[in-house]
């Protein structure tokens, strides 16, 4: 079962991973975006880690809702409300259970991804975080490791796509050939989840 400590480890691992990869995310965001994805997420997840330490919420649902709220407030780019909505809706769906199973988390994340898609209006194939998150959450029903592999594949598979959402969509065909920064940071979040599971 996954308890509050697991979810704290997930958020801490995500913050550390975003810190390590901030430059790469921003570099990916330079040709097709506005070169702020890494620094925006870095700022947001630093606040998430600090807030979790200070307020120590004690259920999985509270942890994710608090993290989501911080991302909405502090990121400053579109990824803030998008990831914030993902985590908040996932947390709300988990309710006040002290522990949840991997299957329950997969189910809750599915609701979270649906909320993110409703907010951003993106569908699979639009070259966004959705291309990572949808297959990853689906695979999480099978195992943590399957989720990591699906996330990584989903992110890499955005390279040949033409962007249909966000600033990159203004570039039309010129967005082809670049891996999407949002899909890439989504793969980091999923990898951090798997890291928290110790797998």
């Amino acid at each position: 079962m996954l308890d509050a400590d697991f979810f704290r480890r997930w958020m801490t691992a995500a913050a550390a991973s975003v810190d390590r990869e901030a430059e790469r995310l921003t570099a990916l965001d330079s040709p097709i975006g506005d070169a702020d994805h890494g620094s925006n997420l870095q700022r947001g997840f630093r606040v998430v880690a600090a807030t979790l330490e200070k307020e120590s919420p004690d259920t999985p649902g509270e942890i994710l809702q608090l993290a989501g709220r911080q991302l909405i407030s502090t990121v400053g780019g579109a990824s803030g409300p998008l990831y914030g909505t993902l985590l908040r809706r996932t947390g709300k769906t988990l309710g006040d259970a002290a522990e949840v199973s991997r299957e329950q988390l997969a189910q809750a994340l599915r609701a979270g991804v649906e909320a993110l898609m409703a907010l951003g209006g993106a569908a699979p194939g639009d070259k966004t975080m959705v291309d990572t998150l949808v297959p990853a959450v689906e695979a999480l029903g099978t195992s943590f490791e399957a989720a990591r592999a699906a996330a990584e594949e989903g992110a890499v598979a955005t390279t040949p796509l033409q962007a249909r959402k966000g600033r990159a969509s203004y570039l039309g065909e010129r967005s082809i050939g670049h891996q999407d920064p949002g899909a890439t940071s989504s793969a980091l979040l999923i990898a951090a989840l798997v890291e928290a599971a110790g797998e």
Binding site: D36, N40, I72, G76, G80, P81, G84, T85, L119, G120
Partner: protein
């Protein structure tokens, strides 16, 4: 807008750029003419002065213009739109009766401020701002 309500609708202008939000607010106020002007607050850029959207600036601006008659929020694009939507979904981050207005930013802001200053209610302000989409330039 038959009877002018005593309280005016507040307008919040959210842009990626503080300068854009402030300038559009000035423009809309300037085009309103004499008499009472509805409360307008810009919420532009990030809290540290960069380009982007600050949820905190948006919440503060909405609180500042809330006179009890509702708050109309207009945005430019991308994260500005998503941040306002996420704040509305949050439930308690914005004053009661705050509405996201789907309108072109500059034209919609002028229409909203002029209408709100005339004492229109929130629905009429929204209708005027949204109607700005139908104004063709050619």
């Amino acid at each position: 807008m038959s009877e002018a309500p005593a309280k005016l609708v507040g307008i919040v202008l959210v842009s990626h750029s503080a300068a854009v939000a402030e300038s559009v607010a000035d423009l809309a106020r300037g085009l309103t003419g004499g008499g009472t002007t509805a409360p307008v607050a810009p919420a532009g850029g990030t809290a540290d002065g960069g380009l982007g959207t600050s949820a905190e600036l948006v919440s503060a601006a909405a609180a500042a213009v809330d006179r009890g008659a509702g708050v109309a929020v207009l945005m430019d694009l991308g994260s500005a739109v998503l941040t306002v939507k996420a704040l509305l979904a949050e439930g308690d981050e914005l004053p009661e009766n705050t509405r996201l207005i789907d309108a072109p930013f500059v034209e919609g802001a002028v229409a909203a401020v002029v209408t709100a200053s005339a004492g229109a209610d929130l629905a009429a302000v929204e209708a005027a701002a949204t109607e700005a989409y139908t104004y063709r330039k050619e």
